[in-house]
């Protein structure tokens, strides 16, 4: 279970994962040694899994971002496994999510421009196995993307 100090630590780290131990210890009013022990516990409990960089694909020339909402043919028993394994092989797929609802799987796809998107869509997406229906939402603008949790 998390206590208030754990929550404060996670809130601060979430806002800035580069914060060092001495600064963080001061912010939560504890000693660096105590903070280190807490961080170790949060890690070993699997609460804190680490951190990763966020890549801005636009800066690398990928100007198109599309959310593909896919319904699978569930009469095939291995539909999910087959589909996901094949989707992993498409380099432009940057996220794969499965859902309970009207949509079964969602793919986040990036492309350099619209002709590039059309090519990937026709050659690599429509050929994925067991698709029953597919809808595309094209991102016009990202308003909020920090993905932080309201701790």
């Amino acid at each position: 279970m998390l206590d208030d100090i754990d929550r404060r630590i996670l809130r601060l780290l979430q806002a800035d994962p580069t914060r060092g131990v001495p600064e963080l210890a001061e912010a939560v009013d504890t000693t660096p040694a105590r903070l280190t022990r807490r961080l170790e516990r949060l890690r070993s409990d699997g609460v804190l899994r680490g951190s990763h960089i966020v890549i801005d694909w636009k800066a690398l020339g990928y100007t198109v971002s599309v959310s593909l909402r896919i319904t699978l043919d569930k009469t095939v028993s291995r539909a999910f496994d087959d589909f996901i394994a094949a989707a992993r092989a498409v380099p432009e797929v940057i996220e794969i999510q499965t859902f309970l609802g009207r949509v079964d799987v969602r793919l986040s796809l990036i492309a350099r421009d619209l002709p590039d998107y059309q090519r990937i869509y026709r050659e690599q997406v429509l050929t994925l196995p067991h698709i029953a229906d597919i809808e595309a939402l094209m991102t016009v603008a990202t308003v909020k993307s920090d993905e932080s949790l309201p701790l």
């Binding site: 990763h52 432009e92 996220e95 999510q97 969602r106 016009v140 990202t142 993905e147």
Partner: protein, 150 residues
């Protein structure tokens, strides 16, 4: 910005784990610490590395439910999109907001403690927002992030 193989290797490594030191990362790639640091700095300055994100187990910190919402605006033209975006982005449970073209106008990622909590957020915070029309909810079961075309 065009990337060479070492830039790509750095991006892949840091996408998987940004906690490793430049010394360790350099060792793995056969680069010196200063050379590794310079390359990371260049990727940051070019905006390719846009930031760093903490990975928390949402369920273990009390957020057992993640829902993707498709939101259609009911009265387009009469609602200011800027006002809607500001108000929806200010809801703490709303993690991401994308303005999209297609079946819906906005795509939201929402976290909640459980389904009852999600219902509360949906009914009291999101559905009460001016202009919100049709809403479709899909509950997230699993998620995986891929390295992308690098």
């Amino acid at each position: 910005m065009t990337l060479d193989d070492l830039d790509c290797a750095i991006l892949r490594a840091l996408s998987a784990n940004a906690d490793q030191s430049t010394t360790r990362l350099g060792q793995k790639l056969g680069l010196s610490q200063p050379a590794t640091w310079r390359r990371i700095k260049r990727l940051q300055d070019a905006g390719v590395i846009a930031g760093r994100r903490l990975e928390l187990d949402a369920e273990k910190v009390g957020f057992g439910v993640t829902v993707f919402l498709g939101v259609k605006l009911a009265t387009k033209g009469r609602v200011s999109l800027e006002d809607f975006e500001r108000a929806i982005g200010a809801i703490p449970e709303v993690q991401t907001v994308d303005h999209v073209l297609g079946l819906y106008d906005y795509r939201l990622r929402v976290v909640a403690r459980d389904l009852a909590d999600f219902e509360r957020v949906l009914r009291r915070r999101i559905m009460t927002m001016p202009g919100v029309g049709n809403v479709e909810a899909n509950v997230l079961l699993s998620e995986e992030r891929r390295p992308g075309p690098i």
